[in-house]
Homo-oligomer: 426 residues x 2
Amino acid sequence: MKVRMFLKQAWDMGANDPRKVIHCIKVGLALTIVSLVYFMRPLYDGVGGNAMWAIMTVVVVFERTVGATLYKCLNRVCATCLAGFLAVGVHWIASQSGDRFEPFVVGASIFILASIATFSRFIPSVKSMFDYGAMIFILTFSIVAISGYRVDKLFDLAHQRISTIIIGTSLCILVIMLVCPIWSGQELHSLTVRNMDKLSDSLDGCVRQYFTNSNGEDDQKLQGYKCVLSSKASEESMANFARWEPSHGRFNFRHPWKQYLKIGASMRSCAYCIEALNSCINSENQAAESIKKHLSTSCLKVSSSSSSAIKELAESVKKMNKSPTIDLLVEEMNSALEELHNDLKSLSHLLNPSTTAENQISATGLVPFMEIIPVVTLASILIEISVRIEALVGSVEELVKESEMKDKIVAKGEKPEGTMKALQRV
Amino acid sequence: MKVRMFLKQAWDMGANDPRKVIHCIKVGLALTIVSLVYFMRPLYDGVGGNAMWAIMTVVVVFERTVGATLYKCLNRVCATCLAGFLAVGVHWIASQSGDRFEPFVVGASIFILASIATFSRFIPSVKSMFDYGAMIFILTFSIVAISGYRVDKLFDLAHQRISTIIIGTSLCILVIMLVCPIWSGQELHSLTVRNMDKLSDSLDGCVRQYFTNSNGEDDQKLQGYKCVLSSKASEESMANFARWEPSHGRFNFRHPWKQYLKIGASMRSCAYCIEALNSCINSENQAAESIKKHLSTSCLKVSSSSSSAIKELAESVKKMNKSPTIDLLVEEMNSALEELHNDLKSLSHLLNPSTTAENQISATGLVPFMEIIPVVTLASILIEISVRIEALVGSVEELVKESEMKDKIVAKGEKPEGTMKALQRV
């Protein structure tokens, strides 16, 4: 029974996201191709029986996205070369120092270099770019330096290790880029657009549900903002990998990926407020119906205009150009805010002695102050959300501007990634 | 200049957290010890020149915490054994099918098993426990199965791979557990306590700064809640690794680590509200001084009693026993809330015509309704925070209860980790 459940769960996962299945097939494909190295005598002899390094390379560097794979491949190749040369140098020094001291020199060099490389992995700037490379550096250096003590043809070993790794990484790069490539950059882009849509839906849905007392809203839609709250880590790793990717689709090499992180942070700051909004909607203190009615028009206007501003921003990010209507929508949002301000002010008429007589609402009788609080809180959180949406507008505009600037630079022909683009067209 | 800056930054990092430096030294130490395998002839001959597997094992499985290292070690050993046996089996089948079909059988088996193992890494329950194992499975299976085609003594290869890996992993486990061990569980525990303290400080600091208009508050203290917002990912990975750790310090094997994640979620839900509180403090709409004064006593009481409740919870988690005073503190918080409620009610006297005469505050003149809004919002967010603190109290009590239950079970002698404990005492 449990096994069946597990299999059903796995099947559903595959059916929901066929790209995962494609990735698995790609891994199988790459591994099968690299096995050919074993089966072909000339290639096998060429790397002196060290063909397993190529297999190992494929297994460890093959990641789901192009960016992650390129990051690992480039790190692996560079670190291996660097460590290989260093190790050959250390071996030469050690062999000069006589048989007795050789193990000590080698041991000490391994201890020192491994410690330093490990330490460098803690430094944030190194970690984000070369974490994997530092590990491979330690690995290759230790293996090659120590092997010098036993393997006579040390230079051959270093050379074989480097060539098998190059065989493995080139194969990985070819497979990952030619067979249904998944780009980190594209993923980050879609995630950002998707999250904006979710944010807009939850904002509008929450406020509408509160004021119209309808339970017809899709609960999953209302909870959409929670995805925004929890996507920081994945955004960061995708932006990190996207930097390694050549130009693909509409994204050039050096597309302003970092700006997506800023947009993500702005979205999260909106989502925090929606959290607070939600709690105020679900709070025990229920507001008086008359007050709710009084503010409902303007609150609904604010929420619908803010959410359509977010929707428009999503569209603008999607198409990667400045939206022509966003200024209009922000203006609309601000005028809705103005209206909400006025409604809030007139709320005091309900209680303020100086104006009771001339006010319609007061005809319904005085409302206890406590019953005003939830609606007032909701309104002021809505106001805060619109302030944060303006910040979001700013960061999206910056992204569009920066990306257009990059486009211009590339159009001028100052691009180093022409070959990469040609490769993609194959 | 830049290099100097970089070095200074690295030095500061080391000086601030000496444990990072110790970790680096541990990596160097483990690697140097494993190199001895190369220098000692009997050991080297024993593993037939495949000693580099032991070095590789040390480099890739040595992590900062005991839990992460154990997770990788156990995964690596189990996956290697499983894959080794399977590969020998597949090789036997392939060799029965004749020279011509052998490469195809091997290739097909690699393709199928690699695809399935890759797919399993996407399933959340497998990912959290066996992600690394699945990768090692693919690696070992491919290497051993393919080597069958060229290496005559396949069984020897499988045996050597397993024994070198066991040498490497045992060495790692010894070094990581005996030389200044850093436990994931202990780290998670301290992080939780630290985050609670930060939450309490920011809550109290924000409200105090608002009502006393003092700028003397430490800005870093006020921003402490942001650490709570961003520590979800690290909490999850630590809880994941802590499961692999034997009993250490006051924590038994199978300590309820998952409960820490619940506490973390409760803390984050408080932190979201503090975010909203902060934005309401920094908003442009400033409240009238008279209103601020009217509510300041009760708001300050609520915030200080809530923050001392959180402090007490932190203490309770730290000592891992039910705090004797927490109920009292929650009661105090509730009575402060009651007071705030009354103050809020009496706020209406300021505006409500029926009671103006008998109220002192109204003597200062009528306050525009808009100037009440910020304080009212702040007060209702404070009320919401205290609701969430009660949820936090609940999850902390659950943790303490579960941990006491585990302690009792262990005290009864039903523990499988006696040997591990003995090992630690060495």
